[in-house]
């Protein structure tokens, strides 16, 4: 009963907050939020909501291959957005593909966030040589575009692992590669904030009563730097999804047996010249809408959490 009241109190406090007010005021942000929510729900419950299970090869019928969308002549109502060259329903492959894309996106963001926040806290709090080393490494990595680093890690993984093992591990390799290329932003931001927080009284007080530095970093400093980290993570999700789809489009991403949005566009690209545009364009539209709404949310979050910018 008490927790229920606490929850209600929390909701009331949130509904009266500045952040919620600025959210309510902008119809674009509300639309972006709803869209993101729909994408997430569709991705999570994908196996139950898709009209055709396209992973089940036995259910595919080659007679149904390369059908146009339902509203164009020759299309069928059960295949709303048409079918691809193996007779897979494009709508179903998109939903299942966005599941793969979002999974890779979230996993790599979590990896980058954990790595970056930890290194940033340590660099900022400990200082000295540790700080210099971490930040120099970050500088060197920052002078290269992330996509090159990702491609390199993927290339090395291909060289080190035998072929069949690599196909199985491809998703993990990509998560690792994207996560590893993106930690710098978190580290830099968290380090800067930690340098400021470090000299505040509450940290000094914690130090005086003899708490372990690790405890101070993660229990006391960390909660005070979460705002900007949340913003970077939201924008980072968009970037991660884009990077994954780019890799899959280039043919070095997730294996084609469980295609992501990028893989679908790559397959569809081969049929563009014969006028069968729906195989590439629909996954493309989904990808853009997904990334656009995540980006809009991130932009809004940045402005809402940082009143100085208004």
């Amino acid at each position: 009963m008490k927790t229920w009241r606490n929850l209600k109190d929390l909701i009331r406090r949130f509904a009266g907050s500045d952040v919620f007010f600025s959210f309510k005021r902008s119809p674009t942000v509300v639309a972006a939020f709803l869209l993101t929510l729909i994408f997430l729900v569709a991705a999570v419950f994908a196996p139950w909501i898709v009209p055709h299970n396209t992973y089940d090869v036995a259910s595919l019928n080659l007679m149904d291959a390369r059908l146009p969308p339902a509203w164009i002549e020759g299309g069928r109502a059960t295949y709303l957005l048409g079918t691809d060259e193996q007779g897979r329903d494009v709508f179903s492959t998109i939903i299942l593909g966005s599941r793969v894309s979002l999974l890779v996106g979230f996993a790599s963001v979590i990896l980058a966030l954990t790595l970056g926040v930890a290194l940033g806290l340590i660099a900022g709090y400990v200082g000295g040589v540790t700080d210099t080393v971490i930040m120099r490494v970050a500088d060197v990595k920052l002078s290269f575009p992330a996509i090159l680093i990702v491609l390199l890690i993927d290339g090395v993984a291909r060289g080190v692992m035998p072929r069949d093992l690599h196909d199985k591990a491809a998703v993990y390799v990509i998560v690792l590669a994207i996560g590893f290329s993106a930690w710098i932003q978190y580290a830099r931001t968290v380090r800067g904030l930690t340098l400021v927080e470090k000299n505040k009284e509450y940290v000094q007080a914690a130090r005086v009563i003899g708490l372990h530095p690790i405890l101070i970093m993660f229990r006391h400093v960390l909660p005070n730097v979460t705002g900007p980290v949340l913003v970077i993570a939201t924008l980072g999700l968009g970037i991660a999804v884009l990077t994954e789809s780019t890799l899959s489009f280039l043919g070095v991403g997730v294996p084609p047996t469980e295609p992501s949005l990028g893989t679908l566009i790559r397959i569809g690209n081969n049929f563009l010249f014969s006028g069968e545009w729906w195989m590439a364009i629909f996954p493309g539209i989904f990808l853009v809408l997904l990334v656009l709404s995540v980006n809009l949310l991130g932009d809004w979050l940045r402005d809402a959490l940082n009143p100085k910018l208004r």
Partner: protein
């Protein structure tokens, strides 16, 4: 100022050294080169002999120094896949990529800067809002999708422009150029728009926000009070003062263009270095991979150095401040 440049130069050397080391490690540990060279039934003694001839039995650091010497003299080894010298393959592909990057950079500058100035001056105009919306969509569109859309519209539906390759090229010494034929120029249009669109929106947004910042300053108000023409104020005073960050970002973005050329070249089957690199990754062609890496790192380091030097040339304050703080 000299201390600053010396420090940057030292940093560049460090970057190059670490990239060379990564490239060397790739060479060294991704598959045993001896296995690729000898026959299946070669005895252990024969393998050992070849190892000694090639210098692979020498200590790690000696091999690294030899590797450094080889790169410095342009000896990048042989491609596993094609069998010809990597230096030759890259030399054939280099002009295609550089021409593409050059045109894309020009496109980004000559569209991005004027658009940024316009949106900065007419903040609330309908045209500005339209341009900003387009730029937001441009940021969210992945490069390869822009390429596909352009191909669909201009090559498949309208049939105006070619969708792949470089068209006719003219050989000038070792450099093959597409600038001198109509088909070469036509082939450049779609890929360079695809490659440069992201940078265009980036430069536009940057110039816009810098313009907004500068237009608020006192010296602009004073210039207006002096009765200068709008043209003199906007371009002579305001735009000039936005250039420092624009040069930095534009310079650094050239590196980005080289990297993203990988994607554009794959979409348009452009016979450049990026296309070569992707094929090398797919076939685990280690010599090509590591040479590309070293070469791109070299481009990056040189660009960064030039940007640093330009900084000093454009902003006189930096020269003074740095030398004061150094004492």
């Amino acid at each position: 100022m000299f201390a600053y440049i010396a420090r940057r130069a030292l940093q560049s050397v460090l970057v190059m050294a670490s990239v060379a080391f990564v490239a060397f490690a790739l060479f060294q540990y991704m598959g045993d080169p001896i296995n690729q060279m000898v026959a299946q039934d070669a005895s252990a003694a024969e393998r050992e002999a070849l190892r000694r001839v090639l210098g692979l039995d020498r200590p790690f650091y000696v091999q690294f120094l030899v590797f450094l010497k080889n790169i410095a003299t342009g000896n990048f080894g042989f491609s596993f896949r094609v069998g010809s010298p990597v230096a030759q393959i890259i030399a054939e592909r280099l002009p295609a990529t550089l021409e593409l990057v050059f045109v894309a950079a020009m496109f980004a500058l000559f569209i991005g800067v004027p658009a940024g100035v316009y949106t900065g001056l007419h903040r609330h105009g309908a045209m500005s809002r339209f341009m900003l919306t387009i730029s937001l969509i441009g940021v969210s569109l992945p490069t390869f999708l822009i390429g596909i859309l352009l191909i669909l519209i201009f090559a498949v539906l309208l049939g105006w422009l070619p969708s792949f390759g470089r068209g006719q090229t003219v050989q000038l010494g070792f450099w093959s150029t597409g600038f001198l034929t109509t088909s070469g120029l036509k082939a450049l249009i779609l890929p360079s728009i695809t490659l440069g669109l992201f940078q265009t929106t980036l430069i536009m947004r940057l110039v816009r926000s810098e313009m907004l910042e500068v237009l608020r300053t006192d010296y602009i108000k004073f210039a207006r009070a002096r009765g200068l023409t709008n043209r003199a104020i906007n371009f002579g005073h305001a735009l000039k003062n936005t250039l420092v960050p624009v040069i930095t970002i534009a310079g650094l973005q050239i590196g980005g263009l080289i990297a993203f050329a990988i994607i554009t070249e794959t979409v348009f089957q452009w016979p450049g270095m990026g296309f070569l690199f992707i094929t090398a990754i797919q076939f685990v062609d280690v010599p090509v991979m590591s040479s590309y890496l070293v070469l791109v790192a070299l481009f990056f380091v040189i660009i960064n150095l030039i940007v640093d030097l330009l900084y000093f040339a454009v902003d006189p304050r930096l020269r003074v401040e740095r030398s004061v703080s150094a004492h």
